[in-house]
């Protein structure tokens, strides 16, 4: 790579001045796509050194796994259409054509070559990407093209990036003064690649000069300070993300257990029903609607999973739970039995294996916030969704007629009945609402985890933990407990690992409940049931 980029730089300056470069020929390309990796890399370097712009699309095709070859030819297969990779003429692919093998090393080399070719692209975004790629593996041979690009560059942000790239290429230079200067410049870096580079230079096989070492060390401290902010924000984000999932999982339970006092062991299975509904909606979209609509299946899946789970909840309440009000032990056993029935039913209908739920493309990938912090879209979406559901539930309880009735029945069932509230109906509605929210949680979970018959079992303990910790009967308690548990789990996970963190959280909760059985937020004054 070193030599190749140096040559490329020379070639580029030549080609700018002189005649257009010759197009890539078949034997050259043939040598790049097949043979020993070292030989292929050498062939790639030789080809790039001609500064041939026609190489770029071919390299891109190779990176996209679109190239095939046989004894003498290389073909490009794009959307099922084969063409000669050199001339671009349409061709038929012979049966014995082989796929071009690209391993990580070749991929890295090809990406660096492409980036070098793209440093002079007119589009600033393309240049920025090219600089970022080159910064992943900087070396001194890039200096010439970096200098050329620096002289050309007008965008101040990109100029800064290029200076950093230049510093990165110079930090291993034999010239002590250059190294010293580079080390100073690198202190402004704020990405993991710079951190790794500095770490390597400070390692046993790196810098030997004490003055440069000191400079490198202070640069490392500066970069670390930049990165630390990203790391802290990262922990906070993962905590909030886990918290939002816990909140969604617990909100439904906060209504059925918190407000109505029903220990609903089948709550997890109601979530599972929501998740399976999402899977079914997804399959229906794939089977019956055009491909473009698939990305929006989730829009239909949200209400569908709410309705499906709410319906099952209503049936449960009417058929089983309403006979058991005020008998917590029986409720617990009955709902546990129901949960087993639901799991087995799902196994019979959908099979015991997990079902596939694909993320819509707009929920794949992430939002790069800082150089070492990428926020995945699906997690961002779930946080937003949790906030929406929370607001919805809070408004429903505080502002609507149903909410008023629910509160009335919770606080004093007999008095409510006396003033004409149909308490049985309110019970059914409230329970169905809790179940529906569980369904929404299941829909959200399908985007981050696996959807299988056991989905509910993994979350039921967490759900009860949140509700009990927050204080039974309190939405605000559930919010604080969910976020607190989420952030605490992630903090501990960072220190002690996932297995120990889980144990520590459980122990902490047990200790907390011992000290404060009523949870974080207790109902003040006379409790309704007491």
């Amino acid at each position: 790579m070193r030599r190749c980029i140096a040559l490329l730089a020379a070639a580029l300056s030549l080609s700018l001045a002189a005649a257009p470069a010759a197009a890539i020929d078949a034997p050259t390309l043939r040598a790049i796509v097949d043979g020993d990796t070292d030989a292929r890399v050498a062939a790639l370097h030789a080809a790039v050194s001609t500064g041939d712009a026609t190489l770029a699309p071919v390299l891109q095709a190779m990176l996209d796994d679109e190239l095939k070859f046989d004894e003498a030819h290389v073909w490009r297969v794009h959307d099922g259409q084969a063409s000669d990779a050199v001339t671009g003429a349409a061709a038929t692919l012979p049966d014995e054509a082989q796929d071009v093998m690209v391993n990580n090393r070749l991929r890295g080399e090809a990406q660096a070559a492409l980036a070098a070719l793209r440093l002079q692209a007119p589009d600033a975004a393309v240049r920025a990407k090219a600089i970022a790629t080159l910064r992943d593996a900087p070396d001194e041979s890039q200096l010439a093209i970096v200098d050329a690009a620096l002289a050309r560059e007008t965008d101040p942000a990109l100029k800064g990036q290029l200076r950093l790239l230049k510093a990165a290429t110079l930090v291993a230079s034999p010239d002590r003064a250059k190294r010293l200067q580079a080390a100073g410049l690198l202190a402004t870096g704020d990405d993991p690649a710079t951190r790794a580079l500095l770490g390597e230079r400070l390692g046993p096989r790196g810098e030997s000069d004490p003055e440069v070492r000191a400079q490198l060390r202070s640069a490392l401290a500066a970069v670390d300070a930049h990165l630390a902010a990203g790391e802290r924000l990262g922990v906070l984000f993962t905590g909030v993300s886990l918290g939002s999932i816990l909140l969604l999982v617990a909100l439904g339970l906060a209504i059925s257990y918190g407000l109505m006092g029903v220990i609903n062991m089948a709550h997890g299975e109601l979530m599972m029903i929501g998740a399976y509904t999402t899977a079914v909606v997804q399959d229906l979209f794939r089977a019956h609607l055009p491909a473009g609509a698939f990305d929006f299946y989730i829009v239909a899946a949200v209400p569908a999973s709410f309705l499906a789970a709410a319906f099952v909840g209503a049936v449960l309440e009417r058929s089983v739970i309403r006979w058991l009000y005020g008998r917590p032990l029986e409720t617990l056993l009955a709902t546990w039995g129901i949960s087993l029935v639901l799991i087995q039913a799902v196994r019979t209908v959908f099979g015991a294996q997990n079902v596939r739920v694909e993320n819509p493309s707009w929920l794949s990938g992430g939002l790069p916030v800082m150089s070492n912090l990428v926020l995945p879209y699906n997690r961002l979406a779930i946080i937003a969704f949790a906030v929406l559901v929370l607001c919805g539930v809070a408004l429903l309880i505080a502002r609507t007629r149903l909410g008023l009735f629910v509160r009335a029945v919770t606080q004093n069932r007999r008095m409510a009945a006396c003033v004409g509230v149909d308490t049985a109906r309110v019970d059914t509605q409230a329970f169905a609402l809790g179940a529906g929210i569980a369904g929404l949680a299941g829909c959200a979970l399908s985007q981050v985890g696996n959807v299988g018959p056991d989905l509910g079992q993994t979350y039921i303990v967490d759900a009860f933990m949140v509700v009990v910790l927050g204080g039974v009967g309190q939405l605000a308690g559930a919010v604080v407990a969910a976020l607190g548990l989420g952030v605490l789990s992630k903090l501990l996970e960072g220190v002690a690992g996932a297995v120990l963190a889980k144990i520590m959280v459980l122990v902490l909760i047990v200790v907390f409940i011992q000290k404060r059985p009523q949870g974080l937020f207790a109902l003040k004054g006379r409790s309704a049931e007491a």
């Binding site: 790794a196 990165l227 997990n354 739920v357 070492n372 992630k490 996970e493 996932a498």
Partner: protein, 424 residues
């Protein structure tokens, strides 16, 4: 009243009839050889093990179509141990003592194998275990048709350290928290020490079974990778946790050219349903890939496709996928059938004796041999990179099959261990 009596008589007649039919079926069953299949069809391991059950059934059909073994048809007995380790032992006992099966094909995780091991040793049963594992075990009642560490883990790490593999000098050993990842990582740590990698350059991290939140693990890997040059991740995550792990890896944009992840328990089947476009270049080490081109493999894939379509296997019927443990199941069962033919009996001792030196032309393109002594196969090693379509590109392979070392030379206590199981 009359009606009731008539009903009772009818019921008795029916029961008697059923009893007769029942005896007839048992009489027929005596002409078959029973084969136990012990794979989780539910729970966290179902993602991997269900396909092995179906492969075993397909192979039984294949053998029966050619006339069975010793002129008798094979009769599968399928049980579901539900990813529950004690249940594995119970179901194994049921297969061996009640159903009296001649042989059992089963288990994926090492913890399940460890839990059924005493059952097979006490009752002198025969288990064929089709998955790569950590070694450190050699039972005369078990044939290991998956890879030992020197046939998978060690070559994979050697590849990561090579120029083509990215010259990695720092390693994250990431696994599910049980015996296989812990032992493999112990061997790998000793191996890395022998290559001059310091403890400070190794990070070991475990998650529980079924873990689904890999955000902080990925953040940790990112941080560790930024602390020095060229980090690689060695993943021994098992079961359906792999789906959220790879999803998170893709979403957080950790690219294979920066930090390659090599996995030992992730194949074509586990990546079904994961968007593999952001994962291109991440690696897996196995002794077989579906993408290997040779006539035996084409025939194997064709047979599997036909079977999946005929049986309407969920998922497989639309997109049939084969993988390494499926191949190992296939090889194991054929070798067992050959050994039974050779021994002229299904007697455990005779079959064990007949197994040594068995050969089979396998879908990996080589004629695979069962070692004379150590109950392991001589297997070729392939390292593949994930492609955008969920298949693997073979980027490195051994010239031919290599002998298994169940006792890793990198664990000092293994120095005096014998390369064959203790006699009964």
């Amino acid at each position: 009243m009359k009606a009731t009596r008539r009903f009772a008589i009818r019921l008795t007649a029916l029961a008697v009839g059923a009893a007769i039919v029942g005896t007839v079926t048992t009489a027929q069953a005596a002409d078959t050889i029973k084969v136990g299949i012990l794979h989780s069809l539910s729970g966290t391991m179902a993602i991997s093990e269900t396909a092995l059950k179906d492969t075993a059934l397909m192979t039984i059909e294949e053998i029966n179509a050619k006339g069975g073994v010793l002129g008798r048809k094979l009769e599968p007995v399928v049980v579901d141990p539900a990813s529950n380790w004690p249940l594995f032992a119970e179901k194994a006992r049921q297969l061996v003592t009640q159903d009296k099966v001649a042989v059992v094909f089963g288990c994926w995780t090492s913890v399940s194998r460890k839990s059924v091991l005493p059952v097979f040793e006490q009752n002198d049963g025969l288990l064929f275990y089709p998955v790569q594992y950590e070694g450190e075990e050699l039972s005369r009642n078990v044939f290991y048709t998956g890879a030992a560490p020197n046939q998978q883990a060690i070559p994979a790490v050697e590849y990561l350290m090579s120029k083509d593999g990215g010259s990695a000098t720092r390693f994250v050993l990431l696994g599910t928290d049980y015996v296989y990842p812990r032992t493999t990582n112990k061997i790998l740590r000793a191996f890395l020490h022998s290559k001059g990698v310091a403890d400070a350059d190794i990070m070991e991290e475990y998650t529980p079974f079924g873990h689904s939140d890999y955000q902080s693990i990925i953040a940790k890997i990112r941080k560790f990778a930024s602390e020095g040059k060229k980090t690689a991740v060695v993943s021994t995550i098992n079961g359906d946790s792999n789906v959220p792990f790879y999803k998170e890896l893709g979403n957080q944009g950790l690219k294979a050219t920066d930090v390659p992840v090599v996995a030992f328990s992730v194949g074509e089947e586990e990546l079904r349903g994961v968007d593999t476009k952001p994962l291109v270049g991440h690696l897996a080490a196995w002794n077989y890939f579906m993408s290997i081109k040779n006539p035996t493999n084409s025939a194997f894939i064709k047979a599997w496709k036909a079977y999946a379509e005929a049986k309407g296997l969920p998922g497989q019927k639309d997109k049939p996928l084969t993988n390494d443990p499926m191949e190992a199941t296939y090889i194991g069962m054929h070798m067992w059938a050959q050994a039974v033919e050779k021994a002229g009996s299904t007697d455990t001792d005779k079959v064990i004796a007949a197994m040594s030196g068995q050969t089979f032309k396998a879908p990996d393109g080589f004629t695979i041999t069962m070692d004379e002594k150590n109950h392991h196969l001589h297997k070729p090693v392939f390292i593949g990179e994930v492609r955008a379509d969920g298949q693997f590109n073979v980027v490195w392979k051994t010239p031919g099959p290599i002998k298994a070392q169940p006792w890793s030379p990198f664990i000092p206590e293994n120095k005096d261990k014998k390369d064959e199981p203790a006699a009964k």
